[in-house]
Structure formats: structure tokens, C-alpha cells
């Protein structure tokens, strides 16, 4: 989250686990814009993103103790709660529309990671590591993670069999892990 340091976020999450509503409000004010941005990007539907955002904060209220009992990166945890929820909604929607034309258009590939202005060291590091992968694999990883595309979407986009796509992503992920090794 851009406007609060990690320590402050961890403190707020610990207070939320103690059912401190003022801390919850402060966290909401600080983090709702980023989490809403994630919902909008993945769901591409403002109304659904609004519903999702509320669900996400309900999960944060109930689940803050799970973060507070671990040592971690609070903004990554919050982002993961949001992304997970949005992805679940996408996959449910997908199941509902199975057999019909998906209501969701394949997104145009957004600018690749190298075009993004990422200021943090972590951002530069992952960009650097993505840059070492075969370009299509790096892009497929980004499309899955940031745009919510499925194996099927990706295999159609790159015109390769589903299993091949899955292999691309698995190999790409393992290469990424090796490149980012200090995190693990």
C-alpha cells in the first residue's frame, strides 16, 4: 500500500484482530484504493468489483488474526486476500458460462512488465527475473497473475495446446523462483 509503511500496516492488522474498529477504518482508508484497483483489473466489471471489495474487507476483518500470528509482509497479504477472492469470482463466473461464449473478452495484452514504472526494489527484481524468461512465458505469467487469464485463455491466445501452456507456466515459475531465490 503506497501510503502506509509496512510496520504501521502490521500494527493495524494486529489491532483489527483485537476487534479495533478504528484500526479497521484506518486500514480501509489506506488500502481500499489499491485493493479496488486489483478487483477492477481482474473482474473488469465495476459493480462486481464493488461487491468483491466489500467481501474482501469482511475477510480481512475476520482473518486479521491469521496475518497477525505470522511474520509477513502485510501489504502482500492484503493483496493476496483481494486477488484470491477476485480469482474465485472469475472462476465461478467461468463455470457458470461454460459451454456458452464467455462473457469475458480476452483482454489485449497490456504493456509488458518492462514498460511499467515500478519503483520498488522488489518490483525491479521481479522485472529483471521476468526479463530472463522466454518472452512469451513471462507475458503468459503476467497475463495469468495480473489479468486473471486461465490456461484455456492463454492456450488460445498463444495457439498452443493446454498442456504446453501449463508446462510453460510451471517452468517459468520455477525459473522465477530460482532467480528470486533470496525471498525463499
Amino acid at each position: 500500500m503506497p501510503n502506509l509503511p509496512s510496520e504501521e500496516l502490521s500494527h493495524l492488522l494486529a489491532r483489527i484482530a483485537l476487534r479495533d474498529r478504528a484500526a479497521f477504518r484506518a486500514l480501509h482508508d489506506a488500502c481500499a484504493p489499491k485493493l479496488f484497483g486489483i478487483c477492477l483489473r481482474l473482474l473488469r466489471d465495476r459493480r462486481e468489483a464493488e461487491d468483491a471489495l466489500q467481501e474482501i474487507f469482511v475477510k480481512i476483518w475476520h482473518g486479521a488474526d491469521r496475518f497477525a500470528t505470522t511474520v509477513g509482509n502485510p501489504s502482500a497479504w492484503l493483496n493476496a486476500v483481494a486477488r484470491n477472492h477476485a480469482i474465485d469470482r472469475l472462476r465461478q463466473r467461468k463455470a457458470r458460462y461454460d459451454g456458452l461464449d464467455s462473457a469475458r473478452e480476452l483482454a489485449d495484452p497490456a504493456p509488458g512488465p518492462e514498460a511499467q514504472a515500478i519503483t520498488s526494489d522488489d518490483g525491479r527484481r521481479i522485472d529483471d527475473c521476468l526479463g530472463r524468461l522466454v518472452p512469451e512465458r513471462a507475458e503468459a505469467i503476467r497475463l495469468a497473475y495480473v489479468e486473471g487469464e486461465t490456461y484455456l485463455d492463454l492456450s488460445q491466445r498463444y495457439d498452443v495446446p493446454l498442456n504446453t501452456m501449463r508446462t510453460w507456466l510451471r517452468r517459468g515459475l520455477l525459473q522465477l523462483r530460482d532467480c528470486l531465490a533470496p525471498v525463499a
Partner: protein, 220 residues
């Protein structure tokens, strides 16, 4: 236990999110029983998180907070001060309760709940064992004691209610505390927390100091 590269890649795939719903559910089931696998998923969440930096924040809908507040907190419609009063009364009651040391734990058949509270720097540790049948909790305190003029206070967090004080912890060693009847029903699945409070415990009856450690009560 070491995970194979296959499992590490699978955990990464889950975080990537490209799989269908059935496969996601299967992985979530595995996470619940395989803590090494669950930890790998948490690592992937950390590794990939910087990719989200490209997503710009967006102003959430107007009244998002009010709607959320309504949804989570509306039913009791109780002003905040009423909670403090309620918790305050209870806390005094509990602080008055006798803490006794070294009482032998009798044999019992009822369910037991444990909670391991450890501060993030590992310096403060408290283990709690709750005997459901006897309605008694025993705690054992280790590691750093609170600073002079401060005490550690133990809180019960259950559901939506404000934390309820279970009392001030001894500076070290063990203590046994009876859990009042009205709290016993809340113990299952609740969370315990330790806060750093003025000597004798929070005067307001609600947690005021920094949270030192927090952990759920788990059935054993």
C-alpha cells in the same frame, strides 16, 4: 519436509490463478492439511506480489466504508462506549478472580484447547491450556517479562465482540484461572491475545497497549 519442484510449481500455479475452480478447491483442501505446502503458497504470494505494482489504485465507491460498517457492525447498534462499559465491568470481575499457582491439573475427559502465543521477535511466550469440562485455563509464561510498571494482559477475542480481558498475566511462571460461565461458550475457536498494559491491567477495560502476541485456541 522438503517439497518437490513439482509441488513448488503447483503452489505457484495456484497463486497464479489460471486453473479452474475444481482444481483450486482441491489445492485449498491440501493446504489445510499440509502446512509445508501452505507455507510454499504463502511464499509464492510474496514472490509474485511485486507484479501487482503495475495496477493503479482506484477510488473505491462512495460510501464503501459505510456499507461495510453496516454489514459487519449494524445488528447490535450499540454505541462504542457501551462496549467499553460492558468489557470494563467484566474485566474488573475477572481481575478480582483468584489466580492460584501450581494447582495440579486433574485428570479430565473433556476437550482441551491450547494456544501458543509468541511475540514476533520470539522474546515473549505464553502457553495456554483450556479445559472445557472444568472451565479452567492454565497459562505458563516464559521469556521476557514486561517492563517495570507494565503488565501483560490476556484477552479473549470471540466473534464480533470487543476483546474481553481474561486478566493480567504473572510476570513469569504458571497460573490457573477459572473462566466465568458466560465466557465458556465463547472459548471454542476463539483467539487469545496479549497486550502490554499499565501495571494492574488496562484501566479502561479494553486493550490499550501494543499487541505483543496473538494466537487461536486449537482443539487437541
Amino acid at each position: 519436509m522438503m517439497l518437490s519442484d513439482d509441488d513448488i510449481a503447483l503452489a505457484g500455479e495456484y497463486v497464479l490463478g489460471a486453473m479452474d475452480r475444481a482444481e483450486r478447491s482441491a489445492i485449498e483442501a491440501r493446504m489445510r492439511s499440509d502446512s509445508a505446502f501452505a507455507a510454499e503458497i504463502a511464499r509464492w504470494e510474496l514472490r509474485l506480489d511485486p507484479m501487482l505494482a503495475e495496477i493503479p489504485p482506484e477510488a473505491p465507491p462512495a460510501l464503501a466504508w459505510e456499507a461495510l460498517e453496516d454489514r459487519l457492525f449494524a445488528p447490535p447498534k450499540r454505541p462504542a462506549w457501551a462496549w467499553f462499559g460492558f468489557a470494563g465491568g467484566l474485566s474488573t470481575l475477572l481481575l478480582g478472580a483468584v489466580l492460584w499457582f501450581g494447582a495440579p491439573m486433574q485428570r479430565q475427559q473433556g476437550p482441551l484447547w491450547i494456544s501458543d502465543l509468541v511475540s514476533s521477535d520470539g522474546q515473549v511466550r505464553l502457553a495456554a491450556l483450556y479445559d472445557e469440562q472444568r472451565g479452567e485455563m492454565r497459562v505458563s509464561v516464559g521469556g521476557d517479562a514486561p517492563q517495570q510498571g507494565r503488565d501483560f494482559e490476556l484477552w479473549l477475542i470471540a466473534g464480533e465482540a470487543a476483546p474481553v480481558s481474561l486478566g493480567v498475566m504473572p510476570r513469569s511462571g504458571a497460573a490457573a484461572m477459572p473462566i466465568p460461565d458466560d465466557l465458556r461458550a465463547l472459548m471454542a475457536g476463539a483467539t487469545l491475545a496479549i497486550t502490554d498494559e499499565p501495571a494492574g491491567g488496562s484501566p479502561q477495560g479494553r486493550a490499550t497497549g501494543p499487541v505483543v502476541a496473538l494466537a487461536p485456541l486449537r482443539r487437541i
